[in-house]
Amino acid sequence: MGLDYEKLGLRVGFEIHQELNTHKLFCNCPSKLRDEEAPLKVKRRLRPTQSEMGEVDRAALAEALKDKGFAYQLYPESICLVELDEEPPHPINEEALDIALEVALLLNAKPVDEVHTMRKIVIDGSNTCGFQRTALVALDGRIDTDGKSFGMPTICLEEDAARKMGEGTEYVNYRLDRLGIPLVEIATGPDFSDPETPAKAALYIGQILRATGKVKRGIGTIRQDINVSIAGGARQEIKGVQELSLISEVITREVRRQIALLEIRDELRRRRAERAEKKIINVTDVFSGTKSGVIRRMRGDGGEVLAVRLPKFAGLLGKELQPGRRLGTEFAAHARIYGKVGGIFHTDELPGYGISEEETARLKRTAGAADEDSVVFVAGDKERARAALKAVVGRANQALQGVPEETRRALTDGNTEFMRPLPGAERMYPETDIPPIPITPARLRKIKLPELPEKQRARLMERYKLSRELAERLVLSDKLEIFEKLIARTKADPTLIATTLEETLVSLRREGVKVENIQKNALAELFTRVAKGKLAKEAVPEVLRLVAQRIGVQEAVDKLGLTTFTRPDLKKLVTEVVASNRALVNERGMEAMGPLMGILMEKVRGRADGKLVHELLQRELRKVKK
């Protein structure tokens, strides 16, 4: 569906978090992720600190209400007391700071005169101290790409958080291996007003980051958070978009969600809905003899069924916000987070789940619900159910206002899920354990800047005679490094290598071929054959198709019967073809080249280079003419 983003007042900005390839930011531990089971575990709790108003920060309070402890997995060989918050941070990793400064200079940002490390309150347990250390390194970056210019107001150096490894009822599990890995955070302004350009800009920034050669590569080493809002809606911080290809989808779906929430608000206003009360009603009796297996199962032993009435919400909980996600799904996310319950039920989906019509009617009656109202209910532990329903009421009342400001998690399909309310702005204070670091002109002069993408493109065109388009594509993709390695190793035609990497593999992938199975060594072997004239370049796609099925290059070539004609064999074939088409040759002389080439190429089918065939045929025809 076509949305008029300008009319909607779409505003998008994003943050890129890139891990740096150096040891941890505030200790000497290696920036190394571990897969094996952790030998030690430490359990902790965090308490929200109070702000100057004597009030607890909104987001901090939300986390505290969840009242879970944190279980930290640690590896004594590569994690120290700093990650465990049992030793003050060591002085900042100077190499990481230099990389951050290098990135800042590449993005045309102005490094600050003196770097101050701050504590940013994060109380979900992903930082053992309850805050993330972060430092502003440079301001006002700006780059031009694709004829568009966009700003990056801040570039920060910060520590990565611990990896969440799952969640039990009592504890959230974290692995401390990732905690403390240096990250560069690049934040753009809310300068984008369509869903496509942010993805391109992110790709370009990623390219610049990789140009330094000092950043980590691979899944999870670069992450995007996207800020999205529309006019009348509210800012959402969408966390953890790991794939660039998902950025525009996430934005489009978020816009749809906000439009739907605004429609719901308007409908509620039309119905003159009032705020729902946090009046929890015990409806266990309604379900005392229920045939609903899921209610019985969730209630368990000694559990109860509690309900709340949401005035004038009838029919709205089933309204779709994003593909497959309804308003009820949003409410359920709040219930899960604040009440630790498995899920919620609501009258919009009844009768269903084996709940009878009679039970539905009794439920509505007990809850005092009119036809225009909805009833949300939860089965299970009483305290949890109560907390879950209170959270549902809170979220329902937000629906009266429209779109609440939230931090949301990006799901793999481009949908998003509630994580916590958007934190207030003022939750940073100085990290007194780290002295400020002056950034002197001398320090900046020592930083050597790598080749930028535009320069890389020019070099590729000049040195390898690549077309502008192909050079551009290589620079923007992450294949430049492998391209240059393959040239050095195989001496094959650069255009062939570039085309294979940027076009052939892409179209094979589109056909469903598992190109991720094609290793660099196989490519090298293949191009070496082509370079030595043992394989026609026309055969490359067919061979790769088999290599992707984990078949060796030699075997693939044999299987396809692609062993190239030797020059004598080819000569023989040319002579034969000319002989058997004598009439044509006699009639048209050199004019017969065209049709005969067609016949020959059909016969060699990728087993000979077209140029060679052409040359031999020409020679044969001249001979015959004489």
Binding site: R45, R47, M53, E86, G130, A425, P430, P438
Partner: protein, 455 residues
């Protein structure tokens, strides 16, 4: 650090200070700093002691701080006067509950609870019961809290005079009806103060609990709240009529140990579970506000009695760690300085190199008692096993049993304030007065694994 102090000592010196004065700018004001085509706008922040004198610290709208270098052409202009930070805490209606114990928290200079002003980065320590309740609301469920300040110094600046002063405040509070007393103290010298109080408080019949934190209370991961909750529990609800230290028992936030004041030592520079009982097991633990006792041998509370303070200490006592080849000139120097007693931290069972014999002999001859402890920390000195030990005994060295060196040092300071007679001093040093000496060495008291230490 208190905000008012922060403004006064904003930390700016030299040219920075001149420029700020000329522009009539104070910490907390929103200002513009221009230099060589560059402009920063933000709230002027205090300069940390760690920083140099040619940068101004600004807090930007984003919440980040940065330092703006002051050059020859730097221009500062005031954009907006700062509002003073709000110091009020939410009005808490807390009525004394007669069914709950009354616990007095005595401040000595450390912070046990605090609030952060994210606008300025200032950390406000909690002083009043309201402030402490609002930071650690659980306390209201345990006891009626009263807060008194005895002194205001960093733990490393504690002195014998201050021990006496703190002792006086404790005695007053208990004599006026407090069920127990909590002393908030920096961790560095907490064990010393606990030991000093153990010797000075006479007729103690209520719990006296020292508590502190290894992670400052302005961070969400602070150990302060659990320590304070546990300390107030011990002070209000336990039957321990002794001076003890209540701090994290493990690196996890699950329980606190109750250490006897004369047995406890800070053993790690930074860990939460830094405090350990040496040569003895802790008295018990607090887990989830429940008390659990590990042993029978401790003094029990009594409903009524009178606490007095015998707070005199001979401050001129030396504690000397013995090293191989150490020369007697060290002891000569100590004697020359006029010290009235010497505690040696000997090697192994309580030995010193022969090169120290002359010095020791001179000390004893000058009626300066010499007490032997061991730098092993764990175990008991025994000077009868080897000839060196027997020689030292003959020289008149007093064996310090299984006392910690610093405990022996404090006890000797206290004993010398009681009597100058070396024989009397020797007698006092050898008798167990406050749990500092145990007649039998338990088999279950040597170190503990650093992880999973649930007792």
């Amino acid at each position: 650090m208190h905000y008012r102090k922060l403004i006064a000592m904003a930390g700016y010196k030299g040219r920075a200070q001149q420029l700020l004065k000329a522009a009539s700018v104070n910490v907390g004001d929103r200002i513009k700093v221009e230099d060589a085509g560059r402009t920063y706008e933000g709230v002027l922040m205090p300069r940390t002691e760690l920083g140099d004198s040619n940068h101004l610290v600004l807090k930007l709208k984003s919440g980040y701080n940065l330092g703006a270098r002051i050059g020859t052409g730097t221009k500062i202009s005031l954009l907006e006067k700062g509002k003073p930070p709000k110091l009020e805490v939410p009005k808490l209606e807390i009525k004394p509950d007669p069914s709950k114990p009354n616990v007095t928290i005595i401040g000595t200079g450390g912070t046990i609870a605090s609030r952060v002003d994210y606008r300025t980065g200032a950390v406000f320590p909690a002083f009043t019961p309201e402030e402490i309740y609002s930071a650690v609301p659980e306390l209201a469920e345990i006891a009626n809290i009263k807060v008194v300040e005895a002194c205001n110094v960093f733990s490393e600046h504690m002195t014998p005079e201050l021990w006496a002063k703190i002792g006086g405040v404790i005695a007053k509070e208990i004599n006026e009806g407090a069920s127990g007393v909590v002393v908030a103290h920096g961790t560095d010298t907490m064990a010393y103060t606990a030991t000093a109080l153990s010797f000075t408080l006479k007729g103690l019949h209520r719990p006296v609990v020292l508590v502190g934190s290894q992670r400052s209370s302005d961070r969400p991961s602070s150990d302060a709240a659990l320590n304070l909750i546990s300390a107030v529990t011990v002070a209000g609800k336990s039957d321990i009529a002794e001076v003890c230290v209540v701090m994290h028992g493990s690196t996890e936030d699950d329980f606190c140990l109750i250490h006897r004041g004369t047995r406890v030592r800070k053993c790690h520079t930074s860990r939460r579970d830094t405090f350990m009982s040496i040569n003895d097991i802790p008295i018990g633990m607090v887990k989830g506000r429940e008390l659990k006792y590990f042993r029978e041998g401790y003094k029990r509370t009594k409903p009524k009695s009178k606490v007095t303070v015998d707070g005199k200490f001979e401050s001129k006592v030396a504690l000397l760690k013995v090293t191989p080849g150490m020369s007697s000139s060290v002891i000569n120097g100590i004697l020359k300085a006029g010290d009235k007693g010497i505690v040696l931290e000997g090697t192994g069972l309580g030995h010193v190199p022969e090169s120290l014999f002359a010095g020791i002999k001179r000390a004893v001859a000058k009626r300066v008692p010499v007490v032997m402890t061991s730098q092993c920390l764990w175990g008991r000195v025994d000077m009868k096993v080897y000839s060196t030990g027997r020689d030292l005994l003959k020289l008149g060295v007093i064996p310090g049993e299984d006392m910690l060196p610093e405990v022996a040092w404090l006890k000797l300071m206290w004993a010398l304030a009681q009597t100058k007679d070396p024989k009397e001093v020797s007698k006092l040093m050898k008798s167990n007065l406050a749990g500092e000496i145990t007649p039998r060495t338990r088999p279950d008291v040597f170190l503990k694994p650093a992880f999973a230490p649930t007792p």
